[in-house]
Symmetry: C2
Subunit: 196 residues, 2 copies
Amino acid sequence: MFDVDNAAAKNVLAYIRSLTAFKDKSWEQLYPALSIVTFKKGEYLLEEGKVCQSLFYISEGYCRAYYNKDGKDINTAFFFENDMATNVSSFGQGEPSEYAIQAMEPLTAVKFDKQLLFAAAGQDPDIQVLGRKCLQMIAAKQEKHAAIYKLMSGQERYEYMETNFPELLQRVSLSHLSSWLGVARETLSRIRGRRE
Amino acid sequence: MFDVDNAAAKNVLAYIRSLTAFKDKSWEQLYPALSIVTFKKGEYLLEEGKVCQSLFYISEGYCRAYYNKDGKDINTAFFFENDMATNVSSFGQGEPSEYAIQAMEPLTAVKFDKQLLFAAAGQDPDIQVLGRKCLQMIAAKQEKHAAIYKLMSGQERYEYMETNFPELLQRVSLSHLSSWLGVARETLSRIRGRRE
DNA sequence: GCTCTTTTGTGACGATCGTCACAGGTGCGG
DNA sequence: CCGCACCTGTGACGATCGTCACAAAAGAGC
């Protein structure tokens, strides 16, 4: 049973309230769809090839989304505290996921179960609004990330991360960061050597 | 006044019905928010620095989204018939747009006015659902595109487009295509020369 | 048909990156 | 304390790409 006094529960509620005015009645409709889940480092929130049945609100720890291309991992996203992690197209269209989402640290998340969430949304238009807002956030985040990828060189992308998301550089290993930046690990090492 | 017998109007209605069961009542609520707009080649659906106030359903012709980086155009998206064109983060958060959307051919679109659309959505939950579905489509499309960008080399991306979106190659000039693929125009020319 | 403009192909060259190989460093468990 | 796994830096080398410059080709307008 979902414990509303849990720290993760309080975090997710605060997150929801930051997105939309949410009545107590909506919250009561919603929370049967929620559960608190924990993952050890290396465990999977979503496995490649499986259909995504949940949204995850990350309460503590972080995870990565990565494709496996010819046996090599290629990271496409990192999700930290207060992020929503999911595979939009798999969740929405029921397609098998082309990538995996994996905990990189011990992780606590609030899971939104798809079936129960849709049932709740059918009862309460404010939950619909919440869903739209979440999608909006996700789409906006993706748009921004695609832009830095298209407009900047590997070096510029690293500097951008350095100034805009310094805490990310603290927590993500350079090997994982490099594939996310789209450069070889060695190149990232040289980028870091060049400056300072 | 929005002419429901117009070809563009019929197209957009068919598009909406493909996304969600839409009652006549919802359609009547929605269509005051719609208008049919046309653009000459080179005209702007959205200018850089302006706040995006509309969604555009593309009925005929196509347009591009592009950033201006140091005086050079960098294309980030093309929108063809039956696509929804907008700047998600500008439309959603009211930020000025960091890129422009420009007609590349004479273009006919159905414009969804933000204010009127929100008013209509407040009246009718099915319009909320439509909005969420559209966002889902947009987010899924972006996710896919980001993936091909991260996983493939310039050459692979070109071959991917060749097999999956051949009509795009017919309509978009190679100069515009190259910046979208993330390679220099000359490199694209050589990629094309290598094969066959 | 003939300009003028835009688009596309090609050649040369230097810069950058990816790959391979290896060494130093750090942390963890036994 | 030792071994082992993982992460990070570094050197050498070849491949690829971007840039500049120019020529060929294709359209658009008169």
